[in-house]
Symmetry: C2
Subunit: 355 residues, 2 copies
Amino acid sequence: MKRYSIASIPGDGIGREVVPAAIGVLAAVADKCGFALDFRHFDWSCQTYLETGKMMPDDGLDQLRDHEAVFLGAVGYPGVPDHISLWGLLLPIRREFEQYVNLRPVRLLPGIASPLRDKAPGDIDFWVVRENSEGEYSQVGGRTGTGEDEIVVQQAIFTRRGTDRILRYAFDFARRLGRKHVTSATKSNGLYHSMPFWDERFAAIGAEYPDVAADQYHVDILAARFVMSPERFDVVVGSNLFGDILSDLGPGITGTIAVAPSANLNPERRFPSMFEPVHGSAPDIAGQGIANPIGQIWSGAMMLEHLGETEAAALVMRALETALTAPDIAKTPDLGGNGTTVEFADAVRTTLLGL
Amino acid sequence: MKRYSIASIPGDGIGREVVPAAIGVLAAVADKCGFALDFRHFDWSCQTYLETGKMMPDDGLDQLRDHEAVFLGAVGYPGVPDHISLWGLLLPIRREFEQYVNLRPVRLLPGIASPLRDKAPGDIDFWVVRENSEGEYSQVGGRTGTGEDEIVVQQAIFTRRGTDRILRYAFDFARRLGRKHVTSATKSNGLYHSMPFWDERFAAIGAEYPDVAADQYHVDILAARFVMSPERFDVVVGSNLFGDILSDLGPGITGTIAVAPSANLNPERRFPSMFEPVHGSAPDIAGQGIANPIGQIWSGAMMLEHLGETEAAALVMRALETALTAPDIAKTPDLGGNGTTVEFADAVRTTLLGL
Ligand SMILES: CC(C)[C@H](C(=O)O)[C@@H](O)C(=O)O
Ligand SMILES: CC(C)[C@H](C(=O)O)[C@@H](O)C(=O)O
């Protein structure tokens, strides 16, 4: 029997609720399809930080390195500043393991209402390919001067290598999916150095893919177009920051970001890739057992896909969509129901076993 | 009779169509209310750049300086890279004249359908206060290395003075409007230096306004919330880049960015302020006479307000809203009608004269 070793990091807040729920579904599909997922649990979180001054042990990355994938919940909790918690765990994993692609589907699921007028599943169905290792997210910079005279510098750093590889991934991905159209998010009218460079590289790489159409919009108007005409997108590629914004806005137009998954990919498979929902640790509802586990389950399906278990991945998605449209399904409160995390995940698991 | 000297810069593309149309409405309201607007026209545009290598003459800013306001259409046209056209005209005006506030209403107008389900005028009615002079828009940075090894650095620069004054403006503005709630756009979990500083200053300035509630969201989830729950916002304050994105997304949820106005304000009135629609020069429809002039007309109303002609400003808005709901109004094609720019602006003018 094929076995995969997976590092699971539930993290903080609702991460601790949705990760176990999703693992239940994943274990069931593994059983059904005849492979095994060996989860090893890492209890790294803001709690760890408060106790030890570190989000993870010094050799944390080494402990993860030998796994085939990392299954993450969410990191961040009141009491620990976000830039500490994220730069102490999530962002180093993305960087150290060269997970330079952050892949995020934006798809309206059956049984979930879009806040947009007249949209049905199929109308909203595209992908955001986000640069995940460099760009605007950088620790380079600092403060100078004091009091009234203080000045803060924040540097964004774009490398040709980093830019080209994400653009190429986007075009390859579009080609692989049979999607014929890649849209670039830019802001070359305001960001004087970085985005004109991004545009140049987009044009250069795009020219290598004559069979894939390419267009670009400034990120401000692109955000508006997500709302006004989401049908027109296939694959949208953006820098670390623009991809971040667009891949939360995308799920917003599909009803809730609670359902959105993401894959932090090291396409060369030299290092483990990481799978996590787009949502955060949601301190406001943590501990109540009512968090929506869909984003975590769907992230699990993306993980199975990455592991090569394509059939299992498809089964999970089919179970999810079937459960969502079942008349008596216990949806979580964010979807207007009164089900719990565990009840909904169980319904998906039961549906899956019956498929 | 009171006279105001206004510099008008139609600029490029549809700017050349909507500016004259809006001036017709403004001239009519001035007549009616007993003051005069003396427009001086400046034909600066990408055409100027192609002919002279400059977007405006070397003493361009000096030529504008003595006016009470600048009424701008849109700048930018294919054939001239955006970062050239914008950094050659729009951005220097904003900076040199210390127009550090970019004020943008997000309001669903009667007669225009929101792409959001079940939203009526009144449901979407808030303001974006955007920092307009520093931050992410900077010419500091550059390129180093060649070919595969090229690296591009883009610096964002936040000053305490620049940050405090925009935050204070936002709180003052909320208080003045009787809006009790300011929301800050941040991204302190990813942008390591700039946004934690922004958050600190937001907390410090917010503490000076105990009567105004303050909250903050990371810009990614904030963008999603614009779509999912626009009712909850009163005043949203953001950096130059975040304010830019949110103030295009805002109009997106009100149906079209063609209607959105903006005021680039020098609140101290040491320099002229500038009024311009949020939309760009729209090369795709330029020259056809079908551009929607609402954003330009509404920008004119904001200009009148700034000049102290409050009653005239209110009249323009009332005329606009009345015209929009008239049964036989010739709306422009973007609003589903088949009217022209001139026809629609004329209808607003006629309505105004009848008020
Ligand atoms: C044209 C561009 C530089 C400008 C900006 O980003 O400031 C525009 O998008 C705006 O919002 O006024
Ligand atoms: C938590 C935060 C640093 C992170 C990001 O911005 O990358 C999150 O918003 C995401 O999208 O995964």
